[in-house]
Symmetry: C2
């Protein structure tokens, strides 16, 4: 497929390719066949995504000679737990899957996280393929090998690093997303641009206008390259620091410390992940101006892009500053008492700071109660 954008992740024996192409769901079987996967496929999806794309993916795998089994769970974060894992694993055993089988994760972040985790523990680990169908999943969660499920004690507290064997991203799947879900995913694209490729803010800004009206054909044709370029930002970071032990992968948490605090302080689902990242980005950039001299102009460029995408920059009604701060302080990024906070010294130049104090966090959270000034 000449000209199809691909992103390669060089991770030694765990290397893989992200294929980004419009209408590539039809090619899943072909692309899988080029890997050394000979066993059966366990397709894992949710009740929202399976009706849209399930038949197409299964047909493609069948045409390529694979036998498949299907495992669909109720859509939503509430399903991302060990009970669902156990249920699907038992289904897979009953379907005769063994260590030669592989998992196909078809859906958004919840599907990818859970199906990836299942693949990481089934017979102590079998390969899996990611087919992400949301912006968030395509540019962020499907790439990098982080898998997880939730427990009573918190979100994503158990999981594994398990890299996929292949990622197939079809940008046309994004066209059926509700506008709010499309927008929230773009918050991570803005974050990627801010930490590594600030020149990408402009095309993201341009996309904003089309979200409500519908993308033009011209835009749809450009989507694969925009998405692939954004994925490549994360891919290079994951290559440098696969297991988040060297500090580099932590740059991807820009905006996430305050964001997680806000997210955890409200009932789950009230604010989407990308929405709290947008809020967290505003707070982090403000602190970046204080601690590492980020220019007002650079800050404004990011905030303008988020605003154009209609992502929130002030705390919505119902979010309490004190409560959000309490959840921020218990965020798992804080270890041993000191706070490692990602700041932006300049566009494309993130830094890990230990200078940020609890008082700074409180001031940044307070800032989010006030409108952005011009």
């Amino acid at each position: 497929m000449p000209g199809m954008p691909t992103v390669n992740l060089s991770l030694g024996a765990r290397s893989y390719t992200v294929h980004v192409e419009n209408n590539s769901l039809d090619s899943v079987g072909y692309l899988t066949g080029r890997l050394r996967l000979s066993g059966k496929a366990a397709v894992i999806s949710d009740s929202n995504v399976y009706p849209l794309y399930g038949d197409k993916v299964i047909q493609s795998l069948t045409d390529a000679g694979y036998s498949t089994s299907l495992h669909v769970f109720e859509a939503g974060e509430a399903s991302k737990n060990l009970s669902t894992v156990e249920q699907i694993v038992n289904e897979m055993v009953a379907e005769g899957h063994d260590r030669s089988s592989f998992v196909v994760a078809l859906g958004g972040g919840v599907v990818g996280d859970m199906a990836g985790f299942i693949a990481s523990i089934y017979y102590r680990g079998i390969p899996f393929i990611q087919i992400p169908t949301t912006v968030m999943a395509q540019v962020d969660s499907s790439v990098g090998g982080k898998t997880a499920v939730d427990i009573a004690g918190g979100k994503n507290l158990i999981g594994a690093f398990h890299q996929p064997a292949l990622v197939v991203a079809d940008p046309t799947t994004l066209l059926s997303l509700p506008p709010r879900v499309l927008r929230e995913g773009m918050a991570e694209m803005v974050k990627h641009a801010a930490i590594r490729k600030p020149h990408m803010l402009h095309p993201l800004h341009r996309l904003a206008d089309e979200i409500d009206l519908g993308f033009t054909l011209n835009t749809i044709e450009r989507l694969p390259s925009i998405i692939a370029e954004n994925i490549a930002i994360k891919a290079r970071i994951v290559e440098e620091d696969e297991r988040e032990t060297r500090g580099v992968r932590a740059y991807l948490n820009l905006g996430h410390t305050l964001g997680h605090g806000i997210e955890a302080s409200v009932p789950y689902g009230e604010l989407l992940h990308g929405e709290v990242v947008s809020l967290g980005l505003r707070g982090a950039l403000w602190l970046s101006r204080k601690y590492c001299g980020l220019s007002e102009r650079a800050e404004r460029e990011v905030l303008d892009t988020l605003a154009a995408l209609e992502l929130p920059l002030t705390l919505p009604e119902g979010v309490e500053v004190e409560r959000a701060l309490k959840f921020t302080a218990s965020d798992k990024k804080f270890s041993g008492g000191s706070i490692r906070f990602v700041l932006l010294a300049a566009p494309g130049e993130p830094v890990l700071s230990e200078e940020v104090t609890p008082e700074d966090l409180a001031a940044a959270m307070q800032l989010l109660t006030t409108p952005v000034t011009r």
Copy 2:
């Protein structure tokens, strides 16, 4: 500690040492302190082992400056499931464990399997230390990084390869084991000797006499070196084939194919794992004479050692040949329809055979209904 037997596993970044020393439970804190572990310790044990050695291990960790939390579950394979995993993980979250924490597995195979699995998934993987307190756990399950729990669909069907950061084996813990548990663990020692160091059969034979009477002081002093030498057999194999992808690690399954079938055909716990391995070894050696010329003398030397240890060589009442065969054929070692069976060409020389037919398995299982002839 000069003279203390240690076994080193060279696995790149995952290398570690097995310390084998009498009364070494007191040294757990000291040995842990030599690793780069700075966080809190989550000690996981069961209701049998904790009352015997828990205080000693926790005291040792506390003396070395570690803060600890304690997680004790009801002893027995029935606890080795995802419910117990989730319960302990939630306890760990409540105790404030984060990605800097580590797990200490204190007990036999069930504790090691489950605590190791918890360590492999907590915050996507934290270090763990094995403190095995049975023969089986010391010479076999604590070394090599296989962790697992059971699901409805079968035993050990989910898990992870997660190498410990340290193994501390105290042979004096074996002195309090019931004789039957001591004997069954020695079946794996006999298996190790058969596949790599046949000269070790003689000292194992000598130990047999002392099991009921109690070990002499002289024997107790020799236990660490006997156990360390046996562990080293498995260690070298794991180094060659960490993830069981090259065939070498499969040698450790000598006797296990028929053994697993017998084990699964009776209510769990009726026969101990080492007991079915003993039966499986007899069947495998008989097939080895047929297919790869194992001498009668070599076969007899292994069987004599097993007999001296009072391990079963004929099917106990209640085991049905047909039923055991049915479970043998569905054993997960059989993939893609062909049977990979471990045979012994000569003492110390295992081979992987695909020649063994279902009829052979039936004949070998039938053999186990007849007494060993001389």
